[in-house]
Every structure is written in structure tokens, then in C-alpha cells.
């Protein structure tokens, strides 16, 4: 494993060096005016710009990145994007399939609208039957006034991206759950916790991983041995009792936000070991490189050598690792919820929504309740595509 890492890391170092040399050489001779602009760009670009260019060429990764940005925007502006709050209930419209959006009313073209719904219980099958009342169309309104909310808990506002306005039947794009809550709005609100658990959790495990891995990799010897065995111990303890004990040990009086941060910490507490190993492996290889030696000879302190001289040697690799660790954390949150150890209702996360959908009735008769799962799968895929794109872009040999 370690030889593998060292060979790869060498290539990334030598891969970027020629550009610098050539740039210096340039001052020696006269410049050919006809040297094309594109060539010039190519020569003087720093490695980061190169990665960016290569990444932009990776269409799938680019598209994924755009979609991820949209998802995060949705999470940030959840109050505005979702037509209802996460706990709002449509009276009498429990377990309703997604609202159908029409454009024809009484045979003539109309702006997109919805009909009112009538719910009846079929006494034979015990299923609810929803029938549309086709007498009056209710147009879908954009930037419309709706339920009042506090943007980020600060400013009271009423404007929503879309809705049907007051007095009109509700528009529930993903249908409603067993309490009549809008699954679309809940998905958007849920993304807030789920997406940020990924980011924060990974950020914390990143910091832990880099620090501990850095120390282990740079000092080597006994320090390394001790840390490695410690990681062995940590990794070998099955996650479930570990999670359970930690989440059970949380004070019960904590509110949703505190629990959220605690769960983030719990996910991070077990997530750092992988990164620490990567960092260590890279450092073990890199510290033998000439430039680390040179810095040492020049009298730089060890921590300076680690963080100023060695770390940048594989930052790109770390970024890829992070990108790929975020979806793991998102999935981790859903797993915790499944075990009943994660975020607790009435707080909403994708894990909570998935736990709701872990229901045979949903699978067999109300498939729309599974839509939040598509968001989880989609987000994990998007992160993976972006991660792969970044990895390909950061690899100097990939032409």
C-alpha cells in the first residue's frame, strides 16, 4: 500500500515541476511574438488553474457540481424554496399522491394549475381514494405569498418561490406523508441537516485526520507506531455499539441543533482514521523527497515543514478524499436514523425521511414517499462524480 502511494505522489510532484523551470528559462531568451496565446496560458498556468481547466472539461463532473450547488442553495434558502414548512399539514389530505399539474381546463390551454381534491376511504380495500374536483382550476403562482416563516430564524417573510396562494388546494409535488405533511418541503428542509452534516462532519474529521496523520507521518518511529495501533483499535471496534453508546450518552435535554452537532461530531469521531492514514502514507513518502530535506537543512521547524512544505504536495489528493468522504457522512446519517440513533423527529433530515419511508406501505402503495431516498442516492452520486472529476483533473498524467 505504502509503495503504491509513494509512487503516485512522486509523479504528482515531478509533474508540476517542469512548468516552473520552463517559466524561468523563458527570461533567458527572447520571446517569440507569435507564440500563441493558448500556449502561453498553458505554460504560465499554475497547477491549480490546470486542475480547474481539466475539471471543467469533465462534463459529467461539471454538471454534478452545478446540481450540487443547486441542492445547497435549496438547503440555504429552504424557507423560500419550499411552499410549506416541514411540519405544516394539509388537513384531510394524508398519504396523498403527488399533486398533478394540469395545463388543460375544459379543453382549453391554461397556465399550469391544480385542482382541488376530495378524499374518500374505500371500505373494501381501506385505501384512500383522491378524486379531483375539475370545476375550478387554481393556477400555480410564483413568488407568491404563503405561510409565514422566519428566514434563517431572523426575518419574518411570507414570500415563497411557488405555491397556490391562500384558500387554494395545496400543491404537493412529492405528495404527502401519513400526517399530511408536504414531502417536497420536508425534503428541502431535510437537506439542510443532511447536507451540512456531510460538510461539517467531514471538515472535522479532515482536521483531525490531517493533524493526527500529519504527526504520525512526519515523526514516524514510535509516535507513528502508537498512533497506527490506536487507529487499528478504533477501526476494529464495530461502529454500532460505538455510535449507540455515544449517542445514548448525549444529554437528553439537548435540543435539535445541539443533537445535530453532537451527531456530526460522532460521525467525525470515527471518520478521521481513513484520512489520517492517507495523510500519513503521503507524508512518509514525501518526507524522503529532496525538498523536505532542503527545508530541514534550511532550518525550518518540523511543523512548518509538515504544513508549509509537505502538505501542499498532496492537497489535491486531500480535496478528492474530502469530496468522497462527504457522501459517506450523508449515508452515515441515514444509517443512524434507521437504527433510531440519529436526528429525532420533529427535526427533519433525510435520514428521518428515509426512516419514515422504511415502510412496506410506502413501497407497495405509496411510492412517492420514497422520493427523499432518490435525493440521498442522487446527492451521493453527484459527490462521487465530482470527486472522480477532481481526481482525474488533479492527476498530472491524465491527458
Amino acid at each position: 500500500m505504502s509503495t503504491q502511494i509513494s509512487e503516485r505522489s512522486k509523479s504528482s510532484v515531478t509533474g508540476s515541476a517542469p512548468f516552473l523551470d520552463e517559466a524561468e528559462d523563458r527570461s533567458l531568451g527572447s520571446l517569440d511574438e507569435r507564440l500563441e496565446a493558448a500556449d502561453e496560458r498553458f505554460y504560465y498556468a499554475n497547477p491549480w488553474q490546470l486542475i480547474l481547466w481539466r475539471f471543467r472539461r469533465h462534463r459529467l463532473a461539471m454538471l454534478s457540481l452545478v446540481l450540487l450547488v443547486l441542492l445547497y442553495l435549496g438547503a440555504i434558502f429552504a424557507e423560500f424554496v419550499s411552499p410549506y414548512s416541514a411540519t405544516w399539514r394539509a388537513q384531510g389530505l394524508q398519504m396523498m399522491p403527488p399533486t398533478s399539474i394540469h395545463i388543460f381546463h375544459e379543453g382549453s390551454l391554461h397556465r399550469p394549475f391544480v385542482y382541488g381534491l376530495e378524499k374518500t376511504l374505500d371500505q373494501e380495500t381501506f385505501k384512500y381514494v383522491f378524486t379531483e374536483d375539475a370545476s375550478a382550476p387554481y393556477p400555480i403562482l410564483f413568488f407568491t405569498q404563503g405561510e409565514e416563516y422566519k428566514m434563517w430564524g431572523l426575518w419574518p417573510m411570507r414570500i415563497h418561490l411557488f405555491g397556490t396562494g391562500e384558500g387554494a388546494p395545496p400543491i404537493m409535488l412529492f405528495g404527502s406523508d401519513e400526517l399530511g405533511r408536504d414531502i417536497f418541503s420536508r425534503t428541502i428542509y431535510g437537506s439542510r441537516i443532511s447536507l451540512s452534516i456531510g460538510l461539517f462532519g467531514v471538515l472535522i474529521s479532515f482536521l483531525l485526520g490531517v493533524m493526527i496523520g500529519g504527526v504520525s507521518g512526519y515523526f514516524g518511529g514510535t509516535t507513528d507506531e502508537v498512533i497506527q495501533r490506536l487507529i487499528d483499535v478504533l477501526i476494529s471496534i464495530p461502529l454500532i455499539p460505538f455510535w449507540m453508546a455515544l449517542s445514548a450518552a448525549l444529554p437528553r435535554t439537548w435540543d435539535a441543533t445541539q443533537t445535530f452537532f453532537a451527531i456530526t461530531l460522532i460521525l467525525a469521531a470515527v471518520g478521521w482514521t481513513g484520512l489520517a492514514r492517507v495523510v500519513r502514507g503521503k507524508l512518509l513518502a514525501l518526507r524522503e523527497e529532496d525538498y523536505a530535506l532542503a527545508a530541514q537543512v534550511a532550518g525550518a521547524s518540523k511543523s512548518r515543514i509538515i504544513f508549509r512544505h509537505l502538505m501542499p504536495g498532496f492537497t489535491s489528493h486531500l480535496i478528492v478524499s474530502i469530496t468522497l468522504a462527504i457522501p459517506v457522512a450523508i449515508l452515515g446519517e441515514t444509517a443512524l436514523s434507521f437504527l433510531g440513533l440519529g436526528i429525532q423527529p420533529p427535526a427533519v433530515s433525510w435520514g428521518v425521511l428515509l426512516k419514515d419511508a422504511q415502510d412496506l406501505v410506502a413501497v407497495a402503495q405509496q411510492p412517492w414517499r420514497l422520493i427523499p431516498a432518490l435525493f440521498v442516492i442522487g446527492t451521493v452520486l453527484l459527490f462521487n462524480f465530482v470527486g472522480d472529476g477532481l481526481r482525474d483533473a488533479a492527476d498530472p498524467y491524465s491527458a
Partner: protein
């Protein structure tokens, strides 16, 4: 553009064009390269990195990495004498690159020695395994034992001491020089008609380099194979080659017998190369680097590719069209407007 009478020609490269289609653009790696290699003779190929010398070698072996590499024009003809007087002529560029026919040539008729003896062997297989493999690939009838004997014999011949023991050693247990000797043993174990040595001594220190060069010359005398010796080092090529070809950005700039080229370098690029290397008796201060930078590999050159760095360039001429290859002196070809009428 024949150097000599053609009856002994082993390799005949005709107007070879190779491009690499990369995302950043197209690299014109070879822009029409022609030359011949005689049986039992040594052709030295000189050039900076990116000049196309390694691509030329790969084209002869049919191992241009594809994608992104692609032969877009020209031919590489191999004249393989068969029993009797007949000659089998094969156009390498037309063969499927991983087909059986080209594979029967690789390693058997033409073999290759690479620059990096460190990485040219698989680290997890013994040297013996890798050398014997070359024998067994081409002589399926040869038993494992015979193949092993042959490998030991060849290792002994290239000067590896205690070959019968060391055949079971792993590459990392060999020094750089020894590894390169093993490489040579592997390339010669099937008694090929030609060996392409792609900068075989670049990674070695000077004394080892001399030993390896000596060894190659001895082996050529013994086995009579042709050698295509690729290097960026004029002095090394001068020591081994019968004739020398100078390449720059995918074009042959000058081609002549070794002595002729060394005595009368014609092309400004060759001259520049000549000046940039120290000689034992030379004056250190007279060393001058070639000015400017190697143009981007993606650049398309309408005129002479050396134009941007040439000290003798003729504006309005050299940058307008590509200079032709002309026989400026007997058996001495050069691609430069300075020698056109």
C-alpha cells in the same frame, strides 16, 4: 533519400506522421520522418525531449500508445529475410497493434532497451521469470528448463556474475547497471535482428554508461544485430553509431555518417547542440545554451520549427514554409533554407 544501396535495408521508414490527440490540442509528434536502418549497423538518433525520437522507436515496434497516439501517414517497412533469398516485407503501421503478427516481431525480430532500468521490470516478478518469458513467448516449443538455461547464458554473456543464482533475484536486488545489463540480456535473448536502445544509459552514472556502451558494441559484433540508438547526448551517439540522425519537433533536421556529421555539422540546430555540450578539451566558457524555449507541443509550425530559436534564421523565408530535406554534401542531408538555392 536513400543513404546507400538498399539491399541490406532492415527497416525502411517512409514519411511517417504521428499525432497525439489530446484534450488540450493535437500534438504533431512526427511530421514526416523518413530513414532506413541497415542490417548490422547502428543508427544514432539525437534530439531533445519532444523531438519525436522515442515516438519513432515506438512506431517501429508498433507500440504507440493509442489512444491518444495515431499514425496518420507514412509507412514503416520491415524487410525480414527468410530462409533462402526471399524477404518478407511487413508494413508495421498497417498491422493491428496488438495482433499476433506484430507480436511475433516484437521481442523476436526487434527488441527494445529502455531508459529507466529501475521501472522497466515488474517489481514483483523475478528477472529470470521476465527474461524466460521473452523466450517462451516466441519459442513455445522450448521447455521451461531450456528457456532458463538460455536466460542464464544470456545473463552471463552480458556480464552478470553468478547468473545461475541471480536469475531468481528480483529487480530491486540489482544495481542500476546490472539491471540494465539484465535488460540487454532480455532484449537479446531471442537473437533479434535489431535492438532499439532508447536512451539506455541516461539513468546511469558515467563509468557504468561506458561499460554498457562497450557491452553493446561487443554484442553487436557477436550477434550482428542492427542497433537504433536514441540519445540526447551527441558524444554517446558518436561513440556507437555508424550514422547519426538529428531530430527536432517531429522532423529529421540532419542525417549523415557519424564522422561526417561531427566534422561538418550543417544545421544551425546541430551546431547549437554541438556548442552546448562540453568536450574534454573544450573551453568551458564557450558553452552556450540554445536560446529560447522549446515551443509548445501543440504549436503548428508553418515554417521551420526551429525558427523561433534559430540564430541564422532568414525572416520571411524560414517562417513561411517548411524547408525541404536536401543533400547538402554527399550522403549528408539537411533540412534548412541556408542550403537551398
Amino acid at each position: 533519400m536513400n543513404m546507400q544501396t538498399t539491399n541490406n535495408v532492415l527497416v525502411d521508414v517512409q514519411d511517417l506522421k504521428v499525432q497525439f490527440l489530446l484534450h488540450e490540442g493535437t500534438v504533431h509528434a512526427l511530421e514526416g520522418v523518413s530513414f532506413q536502418i541497415q542490417q548490422g549497423k547502428t543508427l544514432g538518433v539525437i534530439g531533445e525531449s519532444g523531438s519525436g525520437k522515442s515516438v519513432t522507436a515506438q512506431a517501429i515496434m508498433g507500440i504507440i500508445p493509442s489512444p491518444p497516439g495515431k499514425v496518420v501517414g507514412g509507412r514503416v517497412l520491415l524487410n525480414l529475410p527468410e530462409e533462402g533469398a526471399s524477404v518478407r516485407v511487413i508494413n508495421v503501421t498497417e498491422l493491428p497493434p496488438s495482433g499476433a503478427e506484430i507480436r511475433s516481431i516484437r521481442g523476436k525480430e526487434i527488441s527494445m532497451i529502455f531508459q529507466e532500468p529501475m521501472t522497466s521490470f515488474s517489481p514483483v516478478h523475478t528477472l529470470g521469470n521476465q527474461i524466460m518469458e521473452a523466450v517462451q513467448l516466441h519459442y513455445p516449443d522450448v521447455s521451461k528448463k531450456e528457456a532458463r538455461e538460455r536466460a542464464i547464458e544470456m545473463m552471463r554473456r552480458v556480464g552478470i556474475p553468478r547468473a545461475e543464482e541471480r536469475i531468481d533475484a528480483y529487480p530491486y536486488q540489482f544495481s542500476g547497471g546490472m539491471r540494465q545489463r539484465a535488460m540487454i540480456a532480455m532484449s537479446l535473448v531471442c537473437n533479434p535482428r535489431m535492438v532499439i536502445a532508447d536512451e539506455p544509459t541516461t539513468a546511469l552514472d558515467v563509468t557504468i554508461e561506458a561499460q554498457i556502451l562497450e557491452l553493446l558494441k561487443d554484442l553487436q559484433k557477436e550477434f550482428g544485430m542492427a542497433i537504433m540508438y536514441i540519445s540526447h547526448d551527441l558524444t554517446v551517439v558518436g561513440g556507437v553509431a555508424d550514422e547519426v540522425m538529428v531530430m527536432y519537433l517531429g522532423l529529421v533536421m540532419e542525417h549523415a555518417a557519424t564522422d561526417e556529421l561531427f566534422d561538418n555539422p550543417l544545421h544551425p540546430y546541430t551546431e547549437a547542440l554541438w556548442r552546448s555540450i562540453p568536450t574534454i578539451d573544450g573551453d568551458i566558457e564557450r558553452l552556450t545554451p540554445i536560446r529560447g524555449v522549446l515551443p509548445s507541443p501543440f504549436a503548428v509550425h508553418q515554417g521551420c520549427p526551429f525558427y523561433s530559436r534559430c540564430e541564422k534564421r532568414i525572416e520571411g523565408v524560414c517562417d513561411q514554409s517548411r524547408p525541404p530535406m536536401i543533400e547538402a554534401r554527399p550522403q549528408h542531408w539537411v533540412r534548412c533554407f541556408l542550403y537551398t538555392e
